[in-house]
Symmetry: C2
Subunit: 180 residues, 2 copies
């Protein structure tokens, strides 16, 4: 059940409401989803891929229209919720943090609040472990480093620290609200 981040982003948007390829492109062009490419060369092949997996289907372009509106199939919705339930692993925060946040963003209203809380808890622990490792590295192995090298390292570390503080606050908010 592998798919690219883009594929899962499309799946999540189509789960919210049926859309055409062009609609999906506009989401990436016009909203803060903009770290995804809005290029047709990425989106249309991805939609065909999702179709080939049986996760989405296009309505008949009824009325002679060329516009094709895609929606999730039952199989697609099952794959989607299964993906949403995957928990963060320690290594993911290093190379796949975007994906972890993407999943969390889409979890609301689909999974129950307790699942979102568990997810955040796992994410928080992974972030704690990574921040601890970076601090250890800073203490032990940052001799012989240029000024900009050290500063760039700190930029990364502080970014992770910000994510960690966010995760703690977000957990507290979820607990209070009891909805996603």
């Amino acid at each position: 059940m592998n798919e690219s981040d883009l594929g899962f982003a499309l799946l999540g948007l189509l789960d919210q409401e049926p859309r055409s390829g062009y609609d999906l492109r506009k989401v990436f062009t016009l909203t803060p989803f903009n770290h995804f490419s809005d290029s047709p060369g990425a989106i249309y092949p991805a939609l065909r891929r999702l179709g080939a997996r049986g996760w989405v289907a296009a309505e008949d372009p009824a009325g002679g229209r060329r516009r094709q509106v895609f929606r999730l199939t039952p199989k697609g919705r099952q794959a989607w919720t299964a993906w949403l339930r995957e928990l963060p692993e320690a290594a993911d925060v290093v190379t796949r943090l975007d994906r972890l946040l993407l999943r969390f963003a889409f979890m609301g209203g689909v999974l129950e609040p307790a699942a979102a809380e568990r997810y955040l808890e796992a994410l928080q622990r992974s972030l704690e472990a990574h921040v601890a490792e970076l601090r250890r590295y800073r203490a032990e192995s940052m001799q012989d480093v240029t000024v900009t090298g050290r500063l760039a390292f700190e930029s990364g570390l502080e970014s992770y620290e910000a994510r960690l503080e966010w995760a703690r606050r977000a957990r507290a908010q979820l607990r209070r609200k009891g909805r996603t």
Copy 2:
């Protein structure tokens, strides 16, 4: 003069000191450079690519050794410093922030302090513009969003805010120290 982030990371490491492919892999395995893949299927082809551009050359594997040590050619060093001098553009912070920080990390000791300061200034302005845009979006278009959707958005925003605060502090430090 396009190359992947991985290609430029290799170039920068080879500019610091000549290394073999295996040495480079270990850097990615053992240090916080670990958002790069350490897989041989990425690194050895990338080294051949850099060789084909005439940017790096392997010493003769003298003594019957298989180990090949790569170093920058004069042309490679010229390409490298030219790349280091490219300034951040507004759009880069959205999709290529990693690359902007990679460049800054390697700039030290190669470019003069004033160049690093100009680079940080441009980066800071781009970050300011992006943060402002995200705040505008939050104020205007975050109705009808799930709790996790809003939280994920805030995670992204706060991460950018942390980068921005870092950029301000880093500029002040560079000004004070006068070396990179």
